[in-house]
């Protein structure tokens, strides 16, 4: 099955900075009774189309906050966030939801599928909210995405009837529902066994091959090394990998492991 036809959302906007994702001097400070906590400090980051960027760092280093800045789930205290030509830091809640629905797919560590919807309905939900595709085409696309993650036969089951790995694959299919150009994944393999984690990672690699850009937070250094670039965060600052190194200068950070198995899941 030719899955590439499922993904057209790789076009980038012409407005804003040249990169697909640009963070400029982004800081995030949380005020609490104990005082101010700096989660991100003056982060500059550029990511281009087709990159598979992994984000590593200790707990509390700011990995999830960085992802929240990109997804618009949280606003920066200062600085600018540009994603695919959109100044995310300027969007209000409604604009943000509309933009997020069309431009981003988010994969969570704990899958976050809606328990009362079947697998296929969970995948159709983002299309429903975004008005993506004619109504009658949505189920068809959801089933194709399920085929991509090899779960066609589970379409009408409830999430509770699936294993953790299967649920994560459904969550990935859901993230791809509106054909976003960017996938953000927050510890997507953190709750999976190593075999299922590898399975999931290979799925991401295939998506990158098909033109998606992926930013993935992970604790797993082995998996992180398989991305095209690895960003290391410490105390809210990027200590490594902020800018893509050119292949010509021989200084590529986190060289991709190109031993991807071509026999993709479900293909």
């Amino acid at each position: 099955m030719d899955f590439a036809r499922l993904f057209n959302g790789t076009e980038t906007a012409s407005r804003g900075p040249d990169h697909l994702i640009t963070l400029s001097q982004v800081a995030k400070v949380y005020a609490s009774e104990a005082g101010e906590f700096v989660a991100l400090r003056d982060v500059d980051l550029e990511i281009d189309t087709g990159e598979f960027v992994t984000v590593v760092g200790k707990s509390g280093s700011g990995k999830s906050t960085l992802l929240n800045m990109l997804s618009g789930i949280d606003h920066p205290t200062s600085g600018e966030v540009w994603v695919n030509g959109t100044a995310v830091h300027t969007l209000n809640e409604n604009q943000m939801a509309t933009w997020r629905g069309k431009s981003l797919g988010i994969v969570f560590q704990f899958f976050q599928l809606l328990p009362t919807l079947t697998v296929v309905e969970n995948i159709m939900l983002p299309m429903d909210f975004a008005g993506y595709l004619p109504r009658r085409k949505r189920r068809e696309r959801a089933l194709e995405l399920l085929a991509l993650v090899a779960l066609c036969d589970q379409a009408d089951k409830l999430p509770s009837e699936l294993s953790g790995g299967q649920q994560q694959r459904v969550a990935i299919a859901r993230a791809l529902a509106n054909d976003p150009c960017i996938l953000l994944a927050d510890e997507p393999t953190g709750n999976l066994d190593s075999r299922t984690a590898d399975y999931t990672f290979r799925l991401f690699e295939r998506l990158v091959e098909d033109g998606k850009t992926i930013l993935m937070v992970t604790h797993d250094r082995d998996l992180a090394r398989r991305g095209t670039r690895t960003i290391r965060l410490a105390d809210g600052a990027i200590v490594d990998g902020a800018v893509r190194a050119s292949r010509e200068d021989g200084n590529v950070v986190g060289l991709p492991q190109m031993e991807r198995e071509v026999s993709y899941v479900g293909a």
Partner: protein, 377 residues
């Protein structure tokens, strides 16, 4: 086919069926109560007005003594009077047991075949009453322990005791033994003489000319009639004028309906509190799901819509229960009240606006009650 978001709403409702049933029933009780009262009030008012208007009721009843037809005609010529008619009233006692007597109002109408004001209708048996006969008001037949064709014993204020044959019943909306222990009987002038009673009219019924007559207009015309009677040598000791356009029992019925409406509103208010608490609990429970919905692209308006539709479904389910039950109960209530007030019922249905109002209350109350927790969530 329902979109997945609406399927979520529907399935969420039945994830906790007991909670849903409880909320639906609570709203249904409130809507049922208010719906029943609104329907009943509407139907009863229409039935009372229609039934009473059909009698061409007098605007004022002037009390006097011994008036003849000539004086009644003079009263009819008083400016502002559209029609005047005399009626002879007297008190009787009717024997209902060996030593048991009840008070009975005796009436002798001026012309049984040409009543113009405060008409009474033949209900069963003979019409009009002949000599030595009496027609009983329909509620007085059982009250007096009598049957059509039987003889009853009556005692007049002059001490005369006579036996009269009950030859039929009439319907007089102004009389009823259901709300007073005072029956009514109707006799001819011949029977009046047989009972030894004076033939003069003691009640002059006045209808004031014009549309939408006001109480002030009635008072002015009634005062003029009283004056005319005085001039003719027939002193009057006052008149009784019910609110024009209304039923004489309105002052009794209206407070009852107001009180019942208040109780209905109270139960609906309590249902509102329950919905508020339930929706607050649902929002707390679904906070994570709301975050997921937003993460997959739901706008605030869409999320609000989901939860408001959910509570509107509570209301819709409640309406489906309450509307037919309320209409049925209202119908039973109207029948009971019609019997109590001795009015005829023509099977009037509640107007569409009453159904619309019930729908508005059923859908609006839970949505309003849920607005705060949903907006807060």
């Amino acid at each position: 086919m329902l979109g997945p978001r609406w399927r979520k709403v529907w399935r969420d409702l039945w994830t906790h069926p007991t909670r849903t049933v409880l909320v639906v029933l609570s709203i249904a009780v409130g809507v049922f109560g208010l719906g029943m009262i609104l329907s009943m009030s509407s139907m009863l008012t229409s039935e009372m007005t229609q039934s009473y208007a059909a009698t061409n009721p007098a605007h004022a009843n002037v009390w006097t003594w011994g008036v003849d037809d000539e004086m009644v005609a003079a009263c009819a010529r008083v400016p502002g009077v559209e029609a005047a008619e005399g009626r002879i009233r007297f008190n009787l006692k009717v024997q209902v047991g060996p030593d048991q007597w009840k008070s009975l109002g005796g009436f002798c109408l001026a012309d049984y075949d040409d009543m113009r004001l405060s008409k009474v209708w033949p209900e069963e048996g003979a019409w009009p009453p002949g000599k030595g006969e009496m027609l009983l008001e329909r509620t007085a037949l059982t009250w007096a322990g009598a049957e059509i064709g039987e003889m009853i014993t009556v005692e007049c204020p002059n001490g005369v005791v006579r036996q009269l044959r009950v030859t039929g019943t009439v319907h007089d909306v102004n009389q009823s033994t259901t709300w007073s222990d005072y029956g009514a009987g109707y006799v001819s002038r011949d029977t009046l003489a047989y009972l030894g009673m004076e033939p003069g009219y003691g009640q002059i019924m006045i209808r004031v000319a014009g549309e939408n007559v006001t109480a002030d207009q009635v008072a002015t015309v009634a005062d003029a009639v009283v004056e005319r009677l005085d001039e003719g040598g027939f002193p009057s000791w006052g008149y009784w004028a019910p609110e024009p356009g209304g039923h004489p029992s309105d002052p009794i019925v209206e407070p009852v309906i107001t009180m019942m409406t208040a109780l209905g509103a109270l139960s609906l208010g309590l249902a509102g509190f329950l919905v508020y608490n339930t929706v607050s609990a649902v929002m707390t429970q679904q906070m994570r799901q709301v975050a997921i919905l937003k993460a997959v692209g739901a706008r605030r308006r869409q999320v609000l819509g989901l939860y408001l539709v959910m509570v509107a479904i509570y209301g819709l389910l409640a309406l489906l229960i309450a509307l037919p039950l309320g209409t049925w109960a209202a119908d039973q209530g109207v029948r009971y009240m019609a019997g109590f007030l001795n009015i005829g019922i023509s099977g009037i249905r509640p107007p569409l606006r009453v159904y619309g109002l019930q729908a508005l209350i059923a859908l609006g109350t839970p949505v309003l009650a849920a607005l705060l927790p949903v907006l807060g969530g």
